[in-house]
Symmetry: C2
Subunit: 466 residues, 2 copies
């Protein structure tokens, strides 16, 4: 049995939904289908989820939003017509939306969740109707009825352990089950959504619950690539990568997949396959527990900008027991999580994400560090990028660091920071944001484009005295 | 005005003391002379300080130690004879020692400090007598009378700020001043010793107090070397290094100089010169605030073994605010200070010194980490060495990392950890202890032995697939 999840662009219009249903019917093992809300039909389009947010916001503000409601209903009408379905399904959807709008507006988080999640919920009904119209034994499954119980955290629901037992019984149901992604229900019976990437989470939970042989994640790319195609021209596709590699790559901007969504599947040992709805015959990328070495210590290179470093120096710091702990405590009080902590003898730097570290927080943090830790110096440096080089073959491969650092040197990229030694499958280089693309390209070329016949001589005069 | 400090081997016997006095008289700026206790005359000899410890220990235990007392007195008698001094000075020293033995034995720390410090104190008297016997205007200075006030921590005294004002008046005194190193007096008037390297500390304090033009530190080597001579054959001498470079090198086993001794001189901006008593015409090594680049980004390579890493992994660790802080708190509760904290996405390693991390503490720490942090895995790895590559020219020199990592790769040394990015003047590589010497040699060769005509080609096949 397979669980297949289809993303928003895979279900953006009638034509896409036909493709999806063809894919579903092409493999009798595809039994549980998780659907997103209709996504963008082209670059300038608006996702149904965003239409729903606009609807909810206006209704919350003004108690009326007929134009916004009509826009949502219109999207489904167009889809229904394209699929040659009776208009009755559109009436069902409109009635459903009007029902949701009656919810308690004094609890805007709950109200917003209910409206947003209707995108997936109603799309699941449409897909089920379409399969039924073609004579397929398919049915829409309501997450409440199926027992997808989650914690009461709107926008960040966590699955409750008992859900797995309830959801396991989906195995016994006849026909193809169409399950809306993105939300579950609290024990009190209230709809609660997952965080970003929520449909992936639903698919992963279902795959774990029914002990699927495979969790297929259909999106709009042929595979995961070994580098960002916006930085590297035609990067190599990755055929297989391990969970650990995926997790490390996800950290620094591999946006194909919301990595935390994998946890339930990961814990249950279910392999995952990333495939392309628009090119289902492409092999895709398998995410597995273990893979055979393929001769390249590196499987992928990711990068992310928006990091800041707080450099703290104090003579004899390394004698002061508790210094690092107290420094981290100051950040914790501001609810900031750190990413890396390179340290020297008399200095330590904390690298964190810039987005939450605004000027006001910076001022408070710097003041507290000066005052409470009696340091000699504190310097904040913004505009850093992290380059993540990932591969299971890395740890015991003498020279991988030298090759990566050599590639950066030849590209004239100064290494601001290296974090290597805890993770066995990655090393991270901090560089100036302006050097990020150059750095990714240089490392990519070193590990993916230079065949054994092409040798890089790390010659002295090319790397020193500049 | 210069402050010159002479170490134990420089004052081990009459011949050495003559050399020292010749050095002192050769430069009229050498006005304040700090002396250690007589050190070893040859490899199998015993230092006077160790004789004094034996004397104090036996006396504490048995209330009698005539044999040990005689051994100390005999050393001074031999020196006095060699310097053709009257035996009266030996009587003065014996009387002084017998006076010290009358101190309160119920306070063994105080008692031990008083006996140990007599080594420096009485040697200062001998040196002053010798200079006087040659018609030089020289006088012994008692640290209590001069106002060297310290905190009441036996064996770890900290200088009190008011000392600097009192000691500044030494400038006004006539003639050459012979000042015993290693100890000061608490405000209550009790003798208290500094930590290891204590005579260096005294010299550094005096240099700062009198605002010396130079603090000369005479020892038994021509200079500080760019690598450990036990690992690298005939390593290059270092002509100049900055305070920061010295401090980073000291961390990993550069034992010529006790780096913390430098603090007072460092804070007062006094340059320091390391010179050889046995070869005073050698240029020695200058320790300065700033130096001109000399074309080599690296000034020295140090290494130390005896490190252990505690690897901790937990899925989604990087989302857990406070994780690192709580981990460090557990170590702090055991009074353990950490050295480095490399981190991955879902894992963090803490590198610390092995000497205090015994099996019992390991068991407690690992149990607490498992229990209190609910981690997936904890692994302790012993037998790590740290290689410290130091140089002011490093930070903005693209390719230094690549060269060092390349040298390690060619020597088939696997890099277990890299800590780079906080200190601007060092990078640190963690390797298996068995690879330590090989690693130091490889990096030394790369930065010190390969002229521009000798090129290292970092060829792929030499560094991969192993």
């Amino acid at each position: 049995m397979k669980v297949a999840k289809f993303g928003g662009t895979s279900l953006a219009n009638a034509e896409q939904i036909r493709k999806v249903c063809d894919i579903v019917l092409a493999d009798p093992d595809r039994k549980i289908i998780v659907v997103s809300a209709p996504g963008k039909r082209d670059r300038n389009d608006t996702k149904v989820t965003d239409l729903l947010i606009a609807l909810a916001e206006r209704y919350l503000a003004e108690g009326e939003a007929e134009a916004e409601l009509a826009a949502v209903v219109e999207r489904y009408r167009e889809i229904a017509r394209g699929l040659e379905l009776s208009e009755e399904i559109v009436d069902v959807i409109e009635a459903d939306l009007r029902e949701r709008l009656k919810l308690d507006r004094s609890r805007p988080e709950m109200f917003m969740d209910a409206l947003k999640a209707s995108g997936e919920d109603n799309n699941a009904k449409v897909v089920a109707r379409y399969l039924q119209s073609k004579g397929v034994a398919a049915s829409y499954v309501n997450p409440k009825e199926a027992g997808l119980l989650v914690s009461d955290e709107h926008g960040n629901a966590q699955v409750l352990p008992e859900s797995y037992e309830y959801l396991r019984t989906l195995r016994e149901r006849e026909g193809i089950l169409i399950f809306p992604g993105f939300f579950g229900y609290s024990p009190a019976g209230e709809l609660v959504t997952f965080s970003r990437g929520g449909s992936d989470i639903t698919g992963s939970i279902l795959a774990a619950a029914v002990k699927a042989d495979l969790y297929e994640n259909f999106t709009d790319v042929d595979s995961v690539f070994s580098a960002n195609p916006n930085m590297v021209k035609n990067p190599q596709p990755i055929e297989k990568l391990t969970y650990r590699e995926m997790r490390e790559l996800s950290y620094a901007g591999f946006s194909v997949f919301h990595d935390e969504a994998l946890i339930p599947a990961f814990r249950a040992g279910i392999p995952v396959c990333i495939k392309n709805t628009n090119n289902p015959s492409a092999r895709g990328t398998m995410i597995v527990f273990e893979r055979e070495p393929n001769g390249n210590p590196v499987v992928g290179i990711a990068s992310a900008d928006g990091f800041v470093s707080i450099y703290v120096s104090k003579y004899l710091m390394n004698r002061e027991i508790g210094f690092g702990r107290r420094l981290l405590h100051i950040l914790e009080d501001e609810n900031l999580s750190y990413e890396h902590i390179p340290s020297g003898i008399d200095d330590i730097s904390v690298i964190l994400k810039e987005d939450r570290f605004d000027a006001e927080i910076e001022k408070r943090v710097v003041e507290r560090i000066r005052k409470e830790l009696a340091v000699d110096d504190v310097v904040v440096q913004r505009g850093l990028s992290m380059i993540m080089v990932v591969g299971e073959g890395m740890r015991h491969n003498v020279g991988t660091t030298a090759r990566a650092a050599g590639a950066l040197a030849r590209a004239h990229v100064n290494i601001e920071m290296i974090n290597q030694g805890s993770s066995e499958v990655s090393m991270m280089f901090g560089v100036q944001a302006v050097d990020e693309e150059k750095a990714v390209r240089a490392i990519y070329e070193e590990f993916f484009q230079s065949g054994p016949e092409k040798k890089h001589a790390l010659e002295k005069e090319t790397v020193t005295n500049r």
